[in-house]
């Protein structure tokens, strides 16, 4: 029986910014991340016959319904691909931020009893979302093949779009869960905000469909506008987004993540006093 890390020392008075310390701890607990992601993926569909296939069928089902309902209304070509690409990006954002928040508010029984890095659950939620997103690109490609949308090399840009989306979602998730620890009804409020936010983002309609004067404001105020465009353009339009858009989206995604991370880790020591 090997003794492990018996020389490890914990000192509550240690120096250094909590944001950096948390990052180191998270790195040390990387196996926990893998296990948490595994748990989320395995348990989600454990008792269903189709299992992981649901990850592909869910967006596909929504896409079919939306296509039947709106493809005439928005009178745009290849509506199925348009709406599915928007849905995948949006679902990733909505699901991961919600998961991060619910882990902090309801899944905190463990955090009260044993030390684990407090960002572990949030980062694991992003990991789970990433795996689901990658899996659901399979039905997207299928739909493109069936409806005759050309699959172009520009899709190789998607990893960049996805990384931006993941950084932004983690940042927002950490921010709202920090608030939700103090005010439980923020979780409820978020359920109202999410659908409203979706309709203000070009998820089920093309961005061009917005009247120009409104579109300017949506683009200015709604970060998800850019993240969805960043994800959709290489798929739907078959081209890499403009450099300016890439830099802008990347910059605010990184800033959101850093701000969320710093605020969460600064407040994390107080969580045990609250939850």
């Amino acid at each position: 029986m090997a003794k492990i890390s018996s020389s490890s020392i914990y000192d509550s008075a240690q120096e250094g910014p909590p944001a950096v310390r948390e990052l180191k701890e998270l790195f040390r607990y990387n196996y926990l991340l893998i296990q948490l992601i595994r748990r989320d993926i395995l348990t989600r569909y454990k008792r269903s016959v189709l299992g992981i296939a649901w990850t592909m069928l869910n967006p596909l089902g929504t896409m079919i319904v939306l296509t039947l309902a709106f493809s005439r209304a928005f009178a745009t070509k290849d509506y199925a691909t348009l709406v599915l690409s928007g849905l995948l990006a949006w679902t990733f954002f909505a699901q991961t931020t919600n998961a991060i928040m619910s882990h902090m508010v309801w899944g905190s029984s463990l955090l009260k009893r044993i030390y684990v890095p407090r960002t572990a659950f949030a980062v694991a939620a992003i990991g789970t979302g990433l795996i689901n997103l990658v899996i659901s690109i399979v039905p997207l490609i299928l739909v493109m093949l069936v409806t005759g949308v050309p699959i172009r090399a520009s899709m190789l840009f998607l990893p960049v779009s996805i990384i931006f989306l993941a950084m932004f979602s983690l940042g927002i998730g950490l921010l709202i869960s920090t608030i939700a620890v103090y005010f439980a009804d923020v979780a409820e409020m978020y359920q109202v905000i999410i659908p409203a936010w979706m309709y203000l983002s070009p998820v089920i309609y093309p961005a061009e469909y917005l009247p120009p004067e409104i579109r300017v404001w949506v683009a200015r105020l709604n970060p998800m506008y850019h993240l969805i465009q960043m994800f959709r353009t290489p798929i739907y339009e078959g081209r890499i987004p403009d450099l300016e858009a890439v830099l802008l989206t990347g910059a605010f995604s990184i800033v959101t993540l850093i701000v969320g991370w710093i605020i969460f880790t600064r407040k994390a020591d107080e969580f045990a006093y609250r939850i």
Binding site: S6, S7, Y10, K46, I114, Y115, A272
Partner: protein, 265 residues
């Protein structure tokens, strides 16, 4: 694991296990202040209204007041006191779950809290998957868990059920598996916060023998219990906490006597 059986397995405290003088836990002027709103304001809306009216009042509650404590390697330390006196808060400080509001907590070595059985288990996962998940929560790496896995299942006597979902387990089976994961490798510091007896008699004997083994090998053990017999027979030293302060500490029999006198004057 039952404290009773630990007690039975060690009828004699002077069995040659003596704590060293190496300090492994040090609490220096530790304060824990809970700041609770004097009225429960659970919603943001309510808070915003109160805040505008200038009516947000906080009541402070001292869970621990200026606590100083040193624990030495190999020591079995018992904590007594009435409910809400601050015993569990103190253990949470050592387990890193809580940070002191003021003061300093210093801990050397791997701390293993004996989780309430089943905490950290997922009912839909199999026993095997739960062992790895639980190990990861305790901070072990993949390689360490692979190396430990067979021993854990051996000890828990769970080979027949290890690939069945945990929801099909009896509470005793959860308990056995949880105990086996947490105690496979001797922790430097073991935290036992009033755990009820679970598992059948044979398993209780087995787990208490393991606990006894830790004691003999010089693990530091912190115990919270309301069972004075257990505390007196097991501990090298007893700390009596009352209203967040250390009221008395020292020889188990003496401290317990003083505590009892205070309870029934």
């Amino acid at each position: 694991m039952s404290l009773h059986t630990v007690y039975n397995a060690s009828p004699n405290i002077n069995d040659g296990t003596k704590p060293s003088r190496e300090c492994v836990i040090r609490l220096e002027n530790v304060w824990v202040t809970y700041r609770a709103p004097s009225e429960r304001i659970g919603s943001f809306k309510e808070y915003a209204i109160r805040w505008m009216q200038g009516k947000v009042k906080n009541r402070e509650f001292q869970a621990l007041e200026n606590v100083n404590l040193e624990v030495y390697r190999g020591e079995v330390l018992g904590f007594i006191g009435h409910n809400g006196a601050g015993k569990s808060t103190l253990l949470k400080l050592v387990a890193r779950v809580l940070k002191p509001t003021r003061g300093r907590v210093w801990v050397k070595g791997r701390v293993a809290p004996l989780l309430e059985f089943g905490a950290g288990f997922h009912p839909e996962l199999t026993g095997r998957e739960n062992v790895f998940l639980n190990g990861a929560i305790l901070g072990f790496t993949r390689d360490e868990m692979v190396e430990k896995f067979d021993r854990i299942v051996d000890f828990a006597e769970m080979w027949d059920f290890i690939d069945a979902p945990a929801r099909t387990y009896s509470s005793g089976m959860w308990a056995r598996l949880g105990f086996a994961v947490a105690t496979d490798v001797e922790p430097d510091i073991l935290i036992v916060d009033e755990i009820l007896a679970v598992g059948d008699e044979a398993f209780q004997r087995k787990s208490s023998a393991r606990m006894q083994g830790f004691r003999e090998k010089g693990a530091t053990i912190l115990i919270v219990s309301h069972n004075m017999d257990v505390i007196e027979s097991l501990c090298h030293r007893v700390v009596w906490i009352d209203h967040g302060q250390i009221k008395a500490q020292g020889d188990p029999a003496e401290v317990i006597q003083e505590y009892r006198r205070h309870q029934n004057p």
